[in-house]
């Protein structure tokens, strides 16, 4: 595919029009139907002329404020110089955006590179034109059928939905309560100066609602302690919750808006239920 000449302009569209449409139908799924209403009906007197078809990038631009500046690229390459995923799958952010600009939808919608992006936003941070490449990637991810998305991310999202803890590691409320209380007790017994340290759970009206990435309670519970000590030392008024305490949200990385929202709503409700003022997410 990569060695083939890329055909653009007039003739190309006239010839391959139906082919493109077929492909788009397969890939865009719901997106297409959403945008179809924007397309102009073909005027009979312009039968000779190719009807203008929105490419994937244009559709994404309609979604984003200022179109995510997706057209503004100076091709300076600052994004790609700092991208941790540059060079993987023979791709980098500038190239990805370029393909989108030239309408190589086939390729950008298929490349697994979209899943190699860490969504770290280093690209947009330095981009002279503030181009929202992360959003473009996100929309590409969204266009993938859910069942084709990477298993690891999908599995973590699904797991988070199983319990009200939102833990991608599947930690239940009981297990979570046990680990926190057990470790706190151990600190009080073994660490001088922290005899009255507490790790409050479901403390109503606490100032801070603290989230916790579930990797620590599951694999390295002692690593939660340093933060507790800091909070204890400064006398912060904080609490963990038994519901919605997990800081991670793989549904976002999966580009599954519905599940992402579900997870966020559970967490937000937990904050509200405990009437906390500040929600601290440690992710």
């Amino acid at each position: 595919m990569a060695d083939e000449i890329i055909e653009l302009g007039r003739k190309h569209k006239a010839k391959s029009d139906s082919k493109v449409e077929e492909k788009e139908k397969g890939i865009f799924n719901t997106l297409l139907s959403k945008f179809n209403k924007h397309q102009q009906p073909e005027e009979p007197q312009k039968a000779q002329k190719t009807p203008k078809k929105s490419i994937f990038k244009d559709k994404v631009m309609e979604l984003l404020p200022q179109g995510g500046n997706l057209n503004a690229c100076l091709s300076c390459g600052a994004c790609s110089s700092g991208c941790p995923a540059s060079g993987l799958a023979d791709m980098d952010p500038r190239k990805f955006l370029r393909m989108a600009a030239l309408g190589l939808d086939d390729e950008i919608l298929k490349t697994e590179w979209a899943w190699m992006c860490t969504m770290c936003q280093r690209c947009i941070y330095v981009c002279p034109m503030k181009i929202d490449i992360p959003q473009l990637i996100f929309q590409v991810r969204k266009s993938w059928p859910r069942e084709d998305r990477p298993k690891g991310i999908r599995g973590s999202c699904d797991m988070a939905l199983k319990h009200e803890t939102c833990s991608a590691m599947g930690i239940s409320e009981e297990d979570w309560r046990f680990v926190v209380q057990d470790i706190a007790a151990e600190v009080r017994e073994t660490q001088p100066g922290f005899e009255d340290l507490v790790a409050p759970l479901d403390k109503k009206g606490a100032h801070f609602f603290l989230n916790q990435n579930s990797r620590e309670p599951a694999t390295e519970p002692d690593e939660m302690v340093p933060l507790w000590k800091i909070l204890h030392t400064v006398g912060a008024d904080w609490t963990y919750a038994t519901k919605g305490w997990a800081a991670e949200n793989y549904c976002m990385f999966l580009a599954d808006d519905e599940c992402w929202e579900k997870v966020v709503r559970i967490k937000a409700k937990a904050v509200d239920d405990l009437q906390c003022k500040v929600w601290l997410n440690t992710e």
């Binding site: 000449i5 055909e7 007039r10 600052a78 700092g82 060079g87 190239k95 280093r122």
Partner: protein, 959 residues
């Protein structure tokens, strides 16, 4: 600057700011606050003792904060006026009430701590604002670590490090450890072309060239040959005259141009040096260490732009630069208030200087009525007659910062000069051309009764007039003077051989001393200035110049070869700012043709030119093509503006000429204007930039094509948003606020594809369709674009000016563009005095710049026309007793300055023949002198005995 400081009709108000303005064009009252200097300017002799004794050290803003200055200080060595000042924010006495060290030691009692702020009101007819720019502060771009890592510096700081008068005398050392950096990177577009974290969406226009210059000077100043210099860039914008050549030379010097942008700058080990990671165009990720990084910072609007605009009541643009139109480029929206330089938009020296002259022209037009009502003229002391005195020569050897002293051992040269015949005084100066040195030279002339002066420094082309003036002020004839060019002819070209350079400098000084001993007083002939201008070329530039002359009341003859006025502008649609050109050009044509001071001669060519500045005469041929009614006329004029224009180049590439769908930008403009229907039906338009430009046979960049194509692309997208538009380019050069158009085009979906000269587009026909094949460097794949129209940006060539070159004796550069006398200092003067150049014949440029240049010509010419009479150069031929009228010289004189006349010898009745020279026509070229077999005709200042003395001195070390 020195000239400005010395000018009788320029009053300098320093430490001053405008606090209020009232009135209107022609009659403004400007209220100025003069802050106290705390040093009496009349008493200060600039000895520097106050600075020496001042205990308070503060960051030196002149050196971009790299070094320290004192609270009693001058900004830099060549400050005008050369008077010290006390900085009240930092002075210990003025802040804490103790110290007064300066007052104790000042030998003239100039310190005045009671100095008070003063409010003055000035009545003026017009105001010119040139407050400059604010350099971009990169501290906000945290990923570059400026301010955090010592070896990340701005280009302005680097400029000071490189400067001979800077904190390290031009020997660059890096801030972290004081070592000479070998491996340096420049990052372009820092604070330009950036709308994320900065407001500066414009291109600063100057950074590409200054970065190149910095690399070149770095190589020249460096101790060894192992410099490793890289410039990281987006587009290289070398769109000025001779800039593309400079770019190519810089590549040849080994400077690496890397089309990439590092993401983050990380500190090196122990915070010394830096490390950067970048992705090359071919997708390779490189991690590289550098000794130092220079951030090429942009030039933003001055900090007080808003303040000035509200005080004067004029508009700023979206970047807070003063807003003007392309047709009246230096007029602000407030009548009578003119704006120039970087206040109008970021730009380099040549255009800033041109704009300054243009603003002076606009002011002169506005104030034409009251012209000469307040001017003062300089009076020199009576010249001392030195003809009977034995020569007493003073030799001043200039270090030129370190320009000379870095290579030539100036102390040795000074010592050597003392040993030469008639030399009674010698001295070394850091800058012999500075104001204080002029005072010093004058003083030394009096103290030592010097009657001949030699300055060993730079080129007489730039500095001789200054020194001659100094001599005249000291009561000596200006021609009792010689320069030895130990910089351009020596230190600049013998950098690697300092010892030999010093020997050569001594030779040069010895020659100059030998010659000056033979020099004698010369007088300049005065000619009446013909108060009339001739303008050659009836395009926009020529017409603008004619109108500006006419509106000042000068009679003007506008000569146009063709049968109509208007030139190329007749074919253009819009300026880059969107103004309608057709409408404007028609109104200008009407104004010119109806102006009572302007005579328009169409179908007219120039046949000859005689005379000189202030008093030219030309034969012109009217209706020359129509031999039947052609008429030859003689016209006299004091000044001439050459604006013969240029034309769109043609090409044989890319199917041009074989298919109507392939066209030049001017032809495509007609479609854009008239044929929206076919463009609405079209599907694809492709532009190819640099067709025939930036290639060996036409190496320059035509400057305006990128903006033109980008503008056309935007218009296309407005006509038909669904159109596919591709612009194939080598760099996009939308300098200044034209960058906004580039952004606008990209936002509208125009696709820009870059190509290298070794991978040019391939255009062919396939089934009667036009196909363009191009390699996309980002995808590293080939694209094939089928297009309805192919527009070829073929660039601009100068119109043929060979005839005029012969007639006026001016020169062109390698590309055929008319040369200016000096690209920075005299950008519209031609090397022939009294002639000026504007428009496309000088270099490709957009309307705005042509208009500016035309106005600048009028301003410069106005300096001549303002005088009733003019002094000519004294270097002229004269006939001696030995002439026997053989007339050999007449045949060789290119200026027809010589005639043969008969007269009676001392009443003896014997008729003899002898040559007569017309000093107004003679240019002092010396052909007659070299042709004469019997010393019958000589050139003042270059007589055979003067030349012989010089040659003998030169050979002294050899024989």
């Amino acid at each position: 600057m020195v000239e400005c400081g010395r000018h009788l009709n320029v009053e300098l108000l320093t430490l001053s700011e405008i606090i209020a303005v009232s009135g209107e064009a022609g009659d403004f009252t400007v209220t100025v606050k003069k802050s106290p200097r705390y040093i009496d300017m009349d008493k200060c002799i600039a000895c520097g003792i106050c600075t020496e004794k001042c205990p308070k050290k503060v960051a030196d803003e002149y050196n971009a904060g790299i070094s320290k200055r004192k609270a009693a200080y001058i900004k830099y060595g060549q400050t005008v006026p050369l008077k010290y000042a006390i900085d009240p924010k930092n002075c210990i006495y003025l802040t804490k009430g103790k110290c007064q060290a300066c007052q104790k030691f000042c030998p003239t009692g100039a310190i005045n701590f009671d100095d008070k702020e003063e409010i003055v009101k000035i009545n003026v007819g017009s105001v010119i604002l040139s407050p400059g720019f604010t350099p971009f502060d990169p501290s906000g771009l945290d990923f570059y670590g400026y301010g955090k890592y010592p070896d990340v510096i701005t280009s302005l700081e680097y400029e000071r490090l490189l400067s001979a008068s800077g904190p390290c005398m031009g020997h660059v050392v890096r801030p972290s450890d004081g070592k000479e950096p070998k491996k340096i990177a420049w990052i372009q577009c820092v604070g330009s072309r950036n709308t994320n974290r900065t407001e500066n969406g414009f291109c600063s226009s100057v950074c590409c060239m200054y970065a190149m210059k910095q690399t070149r000077i770095t190589i020249e100043h460096a101790a060894g040959n192992d410099q490793d210099l890289s410039i990281f860039y987006i587009d290289i914008r070398s769109h000025g005259k001779e800039f593309e050549r400079y770019y190519n030379e810089t590549i040849n010097k080994g400077v690496k141009f890397i089309r990439a942008r590092p993401h983050t700058i990380n500190p090196g080990k122990n915070n010394i040096g830096v490390q950067m990671e970048y992705l090359t165009e071919d997708g390779q990720k490189i991690k590289e260490d550098f000794d130092m990084v220079v951030l090429s910072i942009g030039l933003g609007a001055p900090k007080d732009a808003g303040d000035l605009s509200s005080k004067f009541g004029f508009n700023l643009n979206n970047y807070r630069f003063a807003k003007t139109t392309c047709f009246e480029p230096v007029k602000s929206s407030q009548p009578g208030v003119l704006v120039t330089g970087t206040f109008r938009s970021s730009k380099a020296i040549p255009r800033s200087v041109t704009e300054a002259s243009a603003a002076a022209a606009e002011a002169a037009i506005m104030l034409a009525e009251s012209k000469n009502s307040l001017t003062k003229n300089k009076v020199y002391p009576t010249e001392i007659d030195v003809s009977d005195q034995e020569p007493r020569i003073g030799v001043f050897v200039c270090s030129c910062g370190i320009n000379i002293s870095n290579v030539v051992n100036v102390a040795e040269v000074v010592e050597y000069a003392k040993t030469l015949p008639y030399v009674v005084f010698t001295e070394n100066n850091l800058f012999t051309c500075s104001t204080d040195t002029q005072v010093l030279i004058s003083k030394k002339i009096h103290e030592n009764r010097l009657n001949r002066i030699v300055v060993a420094a730079c080129s007489p082309r730039t500095h001789e007039p200054l020194f001659q003036d100094t001599l005249r002020e000291a009561g000596l004839n200006g021609f009792l003077f010689e320069m030895a060019n130990i910089r351009n002819h020596n230190s600049w070209v013998h950098q690697s051989e300092p010892e030999k350079a010093t020997i050569k400098a001594k030779d040069q000084v010895r020659m100059a001393v030998a010659k000056v001993a033979q020099n004698y007083a010369l007088t300049r002939l005065k000619v009446d200035v013909v108060q009339k201008a001739m303008v050659v070329g009836g395009g926009l530039s020529g017409m603008t110049a004619a109108l500006a002359f006419g509106n000042q009341g000068y009679e003007t003859v506008l000569i146009e070869k063709g049968d109509k006025l208007g030139g190329n502008a007749l074919e253009l649609l819009q300026t880059y700012k969107g103004e309608d050109i057709g409408e404007h050009i028609n109104s200008i044509i009407e104004n010119v043709e109806n102006h009572e001071q302007i005579t328009v001669l169409k179908n007219t060519t120039i046949k000859s030119c005689s005379g000189s500045v202030g008093n030219f005469t030309s034969e012109i041929v009217i209706n020359g093509s129509n031999s039947g009614d052609s008429e030859v006329k003689k016209i006299a004029y004091g000044v001439g503006v050459i604006a013969t224009g240029g034309k769109a180049s043609s090409t044989t590439e890319y199917l041009f000429g074989t298919d109507d769908r392939v066209m030049t930008p001017l032809k495509f403009d007609k479609y854009l204007k008239n044929d929206h229907k076919s463009l609405q039906d079209a599907d694809t338009v492709v532009f190819i930039q640099c067709v025939g430009s930036r290639e060996p046979q036409r190496p320059y960049c035509s400057r305006l094509c990128c903006t033109h194509s980008v503008k056309s692309a935007i218009m296309l997208k407005e006509i038909n948003p669904d159109l596919n538009v591709y612009i194939l380019n080598r760099d996009i050069r939308t300098y200044g606020e034209r960058e906004d158009l580039y952004k606008q085009a990209r936002d509208a979906g125009v696709i820009f594809i870059r190509y290298e000269p070794n991978k040019k587009p391939n255009v062919y026909k396939k089934d009667n369709d036009i196909a363009v094949e191009i390699y996309d460097p980002i995808l590293m794949r080939n694209l094939r674009i089928f297009t309805d129209y192919l527009v070829l940006a073929t660039g601009v060539e100068p119109n043929d000016a060979k005839d005029l070159m012969d007639i006026f004796k001016f020169g062109v550069n390698e590309d055929g563009f008319l040369n200016e006398a000096h690209p920075k200092l005299r950008p519209v003067d031609m090397p022939v005095d009294g002639l000026f150049v504007a428009g496309l014949c000088n270099y490709p440029k957009p309307i705005e710049e042509s208009v500016t240049q035309a106005l600048a010509c009028v301003s410069r010419a106005g300096v001549i026309l303002a005088k009733q009479s003019m002094e000519l150069d004294a270097i002229k031929s004269y006939v001696t007793e030995k002439c026997d009228g053989c007339a050999v010289c007449i045949d060789v004189c290119p200026y027809m300055a010589l005639t043969l006349e008969e007269y009676q010898l001392n009443g003896s009745g014997r008729v003899v023949k002898r040559i007569k020279t017309d000093p107004a026509l003679c240019k002092g070229c010396g052909l007659c002198q070299s042709a004469c077999p019997k010393e019958g005709i000589m050139i003042h200042g270059f007589t055979l005995s003067q030349l012989k003395a010089q040659v003998d001195a030169a050979l002294e070390s050899v024989i």
